[in-house]
Symmetry: C2
């Protein structure tokens, strides 16, 4: 039910509906939308600070420009909530029953006012340049404005710089709004921010100006949270005939004191109590991340040259605790995944023991660095990858590709632990050996305990948790419990005493065990929490290709899933124990006949 | 045999050997090394202009610093020939019998003066920052200088910017030498070069300075080809206690007029006549690239909104001819593969029909853009990929990964034509349809002609060139002729009348054909010019996993090959027709028993 039928926003179905409003009404709108952001985020989770900070500039954009004829492209697009409310999607914020109807990012399938699905940073300028170039070619007399909105934090990603560099070549309309709230996800990192501060401190007057250096027109806006100012600025630059950078100073979290006081915490929040600020879900007592940090702290304290590197997402890995204990060993390179990987390689070359913390979906941004710097050079960096999992989240952040894109590369050992003791055992070995880069896939399911069956992973010996016959289940990493359950049901339903294997690695195979399985097994089943195409299962398929062994693979198909509940996804993907057992049964029968 | 036993360079076994030389001797050394670069490059091919331009700064580095205690990291490292001659590898330039002993890039296995295998651009600053950070941690009192040498062209790659941004955080020794020769591989592209020009024009005095903006110390050197100047500059900055950018103006091709007059042609050259400048190999009469450009020109002339986009490598694709005919439809974004892909997506969204030209090894740099911008957004961009092949070249530029990293992604159709008519047929379809991004893998083998068996590739129907039984050969793209030869030998040696299939796509499979193959075939063989891990073959393995069909995959193993002649590599990889037939024979026999 609409929680606020009295709100002014109810009258806004299209952006044009705000054009007749006066300044006071527009300000009221901003206030309402801030409240709606907080109500929705506190109920279902979402980006808080980024959205609170851009209310005025969003309203001003839609007041001055004519969307979708004029086009705004939101970088990352996690700050597009107000844009969504003003472009026909207000019910997704007014009515809790509809909170889940609207995604947290722009999506052309939601609205003609969105042009791209976007969830990764630093793409908006390159996208805007492309839109402008297409306009100049296809529709040169359209007087269509193209506006990119990019945060200061996103500017540290190399693609943003590549975009700026090419934007400067354009000889037609392009407006790049740099939303400078002096924060990234965590703190801004790097020399760029010294320069931006100088520009803010001089009201944009400093002669040293990276944008002008590149030949871009430039204008500073001291208070981007003042609606009248933003309206005036947009009116002045509308239909400009060349690229301009609007450097707009805003406040992240504007209008909600807790989000201003703790900008990191309120960048994105899981559901929380709006009164107390407390999280609605309590943190688990023990976690894989905490165990990793404990181990790193212990190694530093034992005198090992261990360092921790990450690209702007320390919160995902509990790295605050490492930084607090060993600030000189902690490196956040900002949103710059390429740099994080390449720098880590060099630190290993120089004798340090770097441990990189990466998210599956963002590590994609450093693929060439994985190939050309990590795999080719073989220095013993260690990498922890989180978020490598089929998930109920946005398609923009799908974490199912990492096994495919890492396991196909030479020289990298990609380990998939099934429990916390095994993960720490792998981490210790990775930090002790000098031969190979090691990536460890942190499980994202319920934390399990266990006893590692080896303490060196230079050669992989499969851990055969149960020796059976006929069918062998290879359950990878976080899907270990699923493998156990499949075994249980195979026994119960089909009276098959299946073998259960922890393969530990998605890159190295235990050829001996695979060979001997052929003696008393007809079917090998692989279960992995990731993409089937190029995944672990296909490695096993290839091994058994020329033999009589039948192989069945379970994992994610080659598709994007967008905000689908996990139980539904598992059902779609044939990943419930019942479905897996049914599929095995069919092959067992075909093997008999 | 040493061609120049009288050269001064013969006395140089280690960098320290030049420290006692006087300026005239050092200048003589520069002249000799220029001659040796030209002799070697004209004989076996290599980078010309980049090496001729850095003679003085290389000699000065080794004269002033103490390598390998002090460390120089060459960006791309294609300009490291002089460094190699001065660090014990002169015979690779003096003696034609040893030309092939020394690779064209830095390589730690060649010399302790090299720290990384490097062949892709824009990595050196991030590497140098990592080396410096490791030094500060592991060896803080070592007074070790870390020097990165990066060309102006390489600065357009986002990773270079990420590196600069993080370099500015360093509070210890780091020297970033920007070797500004006013050229990339082709022309420099983008606003950055306006700013660099302003710095050159003002002798580094302009207040607008991107390096200082980021908080980096800065010094301009007007003539980086003057040995005395470079020695003095290096002496002054040696042991500096903070990061500094040396902006050094040099001339690409210095000392060899043809390389100055045509800097693009002499960036890298295949073997050529040193007197006439003529290529030793004549260009083939017809080529896949020429056919593609003919088609694009025709489409533009027919009024289609086709545009061509590339990232600094127009020469690889004959794009000069397209640019000459349709300059307004031609976009070179500089060395910025991420930007090229993201901008192309937006151009497609805006109604243009972008055709992207990418090299397999460099497209790796835009992997996240393939996932997050291309696959997720599904705009109908078209991409031509060259260099996707097992090659005799450097490990740094291995082109065997593209099938793995593209075919595992949703929504992208990756087509592998076997002949030029099929390639153009695929290109026409790709530019006509609106449903899907299409990538086309240009064959790198002998140009073949043929008749396409379909003209829409929305659904893939396998082209069964010959219907046989027992064994089916699926030969992908450039390996079509190999497939034909395997079929011939199977008939001749084993009297097997094998089926021969052109699968056309490495992403979509023809389930109907694969299904019916089971009726009268026992073995399916896949042959692809790329990585087996995550490749096309594994897709077929997975399809037949639960069945009785045996599958054999041929392709490249998960390893880097470094300058190995192709016939040797094929032998290693079991890719000669004889080996493939032998392997098939073994499985045929095992199937009988």
């Amino acid at each position: 039910m609409n929680q606020h039928p009295d709100f002014l926003i109810n009258e806004v179905n299209e952006p044009q509906d705000i054009k007749s409003m006066n300044l006071d009404q527009l300000k009221e709108l901003a206030q309402e939308m801030r409240q709606l952001v907080l109500e929705r985020d506190s109920a279902v989770g979402g980006h808080v600070g980024p959205n609170l900070g851009v209310m005025e500039l969003t309203i001003a954009f839609h007041y001055v420009f004519d969307s979708p004829h004029d086009k705004v492209i939101w970088d990352v697009s996690h700050q597009s909530y107000a844009h969504k409310m003003l472009t026909g999607r207000k019910l997704g914020f007014l009515d809790p029953d509809h909170y889940e109807d609207v995604s947290g990012y722009t999506d052309p399938s939601e609205s003609p006012h969105d042009f791209f699905k976007v969830g990764h940073t630093s793409t908006s300028i390159a996208l805007a340049v492309g839109m402008a170039q297409a306009r100049d070619l296809v529709n040169p007399d359209s007087h269509e404005n193209v506006v990119a909105v990019i945060g200061d934090g996103s500017l540290s990603g190399g693609l943003a710089f590549e975009g700026l560099n090419n934007a400067a070549k354009l000889k037609s309309n392009l407006i790049i709004l740099v939303n400078d709230n002096q924060m990234s996800i965590d703190e801004d990192q790097g020399g760029l921010y010294r320069g931006l501060k100088e520009l803010r401190d001089t009201q944009g007057q400093s002669a040293n100006n990276i944008f002008k250096f590149m030949g871009l027109d430039y204008r500073y806006v001291a208070d981007g949270n003042d609606l009248k100012t933003m309206i005036d600025v947009f009116k002045e630059v509308k239909n400009i005939d060349h690229p301009i950078v609007l450097h707009v100073n805003t406040q992240k979290g504007k209008g909600y004191q807790p989000a201003i006081d703790d900008q990191k915490k309120y960048h994105w929040r899981a559901p929380f109590d709006l009164q107390t600020g407390e999280s609605k879900q309590s943190a688990p007592k023990e976690s894989y991340s905490a165990a990793v940090i404990d181990e790193l702290n212990a190694q530093v304290e034992a005198g090992k040259p261990v360092v921790a590197i990450n690209a702007a997402i320390p919160g995902m890995f509990d790295l605050g605790r490492f930084k607090a204990a060993h600030a000189d060993r902690y490196f956040d390179v900002g949103i710059a995944e390429q740099d994080s990987v390449t720098t880590a390689v060099a630190m290993a070359a120089g004798g340090a023991r770097p441990v990189l913390f990466e998210s599956s979906t963002f590590l994609q941004r450093a693929y060439d660095q994985l190939v050309h710097d990590v795999a080719l050079n073989e220095y013993p960096i260690v990498m922890i990858v989180r978020g490598g999992t089929i998930s109920s989240g946005s398609a923009t952040h799908q974490g199912t590709f990492d096994i495919s894109y890492i396991s196909s590369l030479p020289n990298i050992e990609y380990l998939a632990p099934t429990n916390v003791e095994e993960m720490i055992s792998m981490l210790r070995w990775a930090l002790k050996q000098n031969d190979t880069p090691v990536v460890i896939r942190q499980p994202e399911h319920e934390l399990l305990h266990g006893t590692p069956s080896q303490d060196s992973y230079a050669t992989i010996d499969y851990d055969i948790a149960h020796h059976g016959s006929e069918v062998a289940i290879m359950a990878v990493g976080g899907f270990w419990q699923l493998g156990e359950e499949v075994c249980r049901q195979l026994k119960e339903k089909l009276n098959i005493d299946a073998t259960l294997i922890n393969p530990k690695s998605v890159t190295s195979i235990d050829q001996r065990d695979l060979h001997y399985l052929q003696e008393d097994h007809d079917i090998v089943v692989t279960i992995e929490d990731g993409n089937l195409s190029g995944g672990f299962g296909e490695t096993i398929d290839r091994y058994y290709g020329p033999t009589n062994m039948k192989v069945l693979n379970f994992g994610a198909p080659r598709e994007f899933a967008d905000n689908v509940p996990l139980e539904v996804l598992y059902e779609w993907y044939h990943l419930t124990p019942e479905q897996i057992v049914d599929d095995i049964e069919r092959v067992v029968h075909s093997a008999i006949y």
